[in-house]
């Protein structure tokens, strides 16, 4: 039995399940730490993604910069960070896009400047559903 079952309260946590599902997706993200890999990815994103044993769904999520989908497919946010950095965009763009409902960069910044998202109602899926 897994001690940390899936789903954990929140996607993006690298539990054993997410580790297995997201291994190649995360290792692709990690590769962008190297300048030569960033160049190769920039030159032909789809071809570069073929070098990793990812699923087609995972590749599409990267091409679409659909960060929420990437997380659902096993990515962790610190790994996804490499992709938004590659695009030379601030991470708040990614955080806002993943948020539900989605927030623009400006909206996300404003939420944080107003003290951030309240923990009340957000401790668990159950608490969130109960509003």
């Amino acid at each position: 039995m897994m001690i940390f079952p899936e789903p954990m309260f929140w996607m993006g946590a690298i539990t054993g399940g997410a580790y297995r599902r997201g291994f190649h997706l995360n290792m692709f993200c990690m590769s962008l730490n190297k300048a030569e890999c960033r160049e190769e990815f920039a030159a032909d994103e789809a071809a570069y993604l073929q070098k990793f044993k990812m699923t087609d769904e995972q590749r599409q999520a990267v091409l679409d910069r659909n960060y929420l989908e990437m997380l659902k497919l096993g990515a962790n946010v610190y790994y996804a960070f490499k992709v938004i950095s590659h695009d030379r965009k601030p991470p708040q763009v990614m955080y806002g896009q993943m948020a539900m409902p989605p927030l623009s960069f400006e909206e996300f910044q404003e939420m944080m400047l107003n003290g951030g998202r309240s923990i009340d109602g957000n401790r668990s899926v159950k608490e969130q559903e109960n509003g």
């Binding site: 690298i14 290792m27 990690m30 997380l71 946010v77 996300f108 939420m111 944080m112 400047l113 923990i119």
Partner: protein, 279 residues
């Protein structure tokens, strides 16, 4: 003998380093944060130890899913700032302290803490941002650094209690080092933040304040927090706070709080800092 003289806790948000490196600290967004750093820097100017042990985590920079140890100690002569995807930060090389690092590693392993050891590692913002917060922008960092990396990303992370006990074992190891050295220890990361997923932007000032209060007066209370407590109350990334327990475990039972600073937001994070001196 060597001894631990002081501890610092600080968040290590990469945006802080970027703001400094790109000359943005005068912008409205950053002014309150850097104002809050002033007493930290003033204290550090007057309290430079011979060595700092910096407890932090690698953020998919040098370590990833292919090989990620629970606790890793850096024993190299020096460490480069890492390329985390946008080129390395233009900050000084970080000098190590191999003699003390090896002494600690040997003692920890004989004390049942099975450390991983690295002699070649590029260090990411987890280490360089705390140095920038404490020491601003010098030509060279004023102390050598022993990096201690903790897995806080991949489940299961070490428990909050294990981190505290590691701190206790580090203290014992330091105190058996024959040379007369003063040692600082920094716990970094946190405080509450949720970067990924649908509740991105969650912070929890009540939880953070309680954690900081306990850190001073009732540190064992912070060792009873579970993985689930952190993910629920402090966001998925809030579990970085277990690294502050390593620092606290290395300090005396009674400590003096010299300074505390708390500020929201830094990027999507609640920033916290604390300086503790042994009573």
């Amino acid at each position: 003998m060597a001894r631990i003289v002081a501890g610092m806790g600080t968040s290590h948000v990469p945006g802080v380093g970027a703001a400094m490196d790109n000359g943005k600290t005068g912008e409205d967004y950053w002014v309150p944060l850097f104002k809050g750093f002033e007493p930290i820097r003033e204290w550090h100017k007057n309290n430079v130890p011979d060595v700092n042990i910096v407890v932090f985590n690698d953020h998919a920079t040098s370590y990833a899913l292919d090989n990620y140890s629970t606790f890793t100690m850096g024993v190299a002569e020096e460490f480069k700032p890492a390329d985390e995807g946008w080129g390395p930060r233009k900050v000084p090389m970080i000098q190590g302290h191999p003699e003390l690092a090896w002494h600690i590693v040997e003692n920890l392993i004989l004390n049942e803490f099975d450390m991983a050891v690295t002699g070649d590692l590029d260090l990411d913002h987890g280490c360089s941002v705390p140095l920038s917060i404490a020491y601003d922008q010098p030509d060279a960092w004023p102390t050598p650094v022993i990096p201690l990396l903790v897995n806080v990303i991949q489940y299961p992370q070490p428990t909050a209690l294990r981190c505290f006990k590691l701190g206790q074992a580090i203290r014992k190891a330091v105190e058996s080092f024959p040379e007369d050295l003063t040692v600082g220890i920094w716990g970094t990361g946190g405080l509450s933040h949720q970067l990924g997923g649908e509740r991105a932007g969650v912070v929890n000032p009540d939880f953070d304040t309680k954690f900081l209060d306990n850190l001073v007066d009732d540190p064992l209370a912070n060792t009873r927090l579970s993985h689930t407590d952190f993910i629920r109350e402090a966001g998925s990334e809030g579990i970085e706070m277990i690294m502050w327990n390593v620092m606290r475990g290395a300090m005396n039972e009674k400590v003096r709080e010299v300074y505390r600073f708390y500020h929201i937001p830094v990027s999507a994070t609640a920033y916290g800092a604390i300086i503790l001196e042994n009573e």
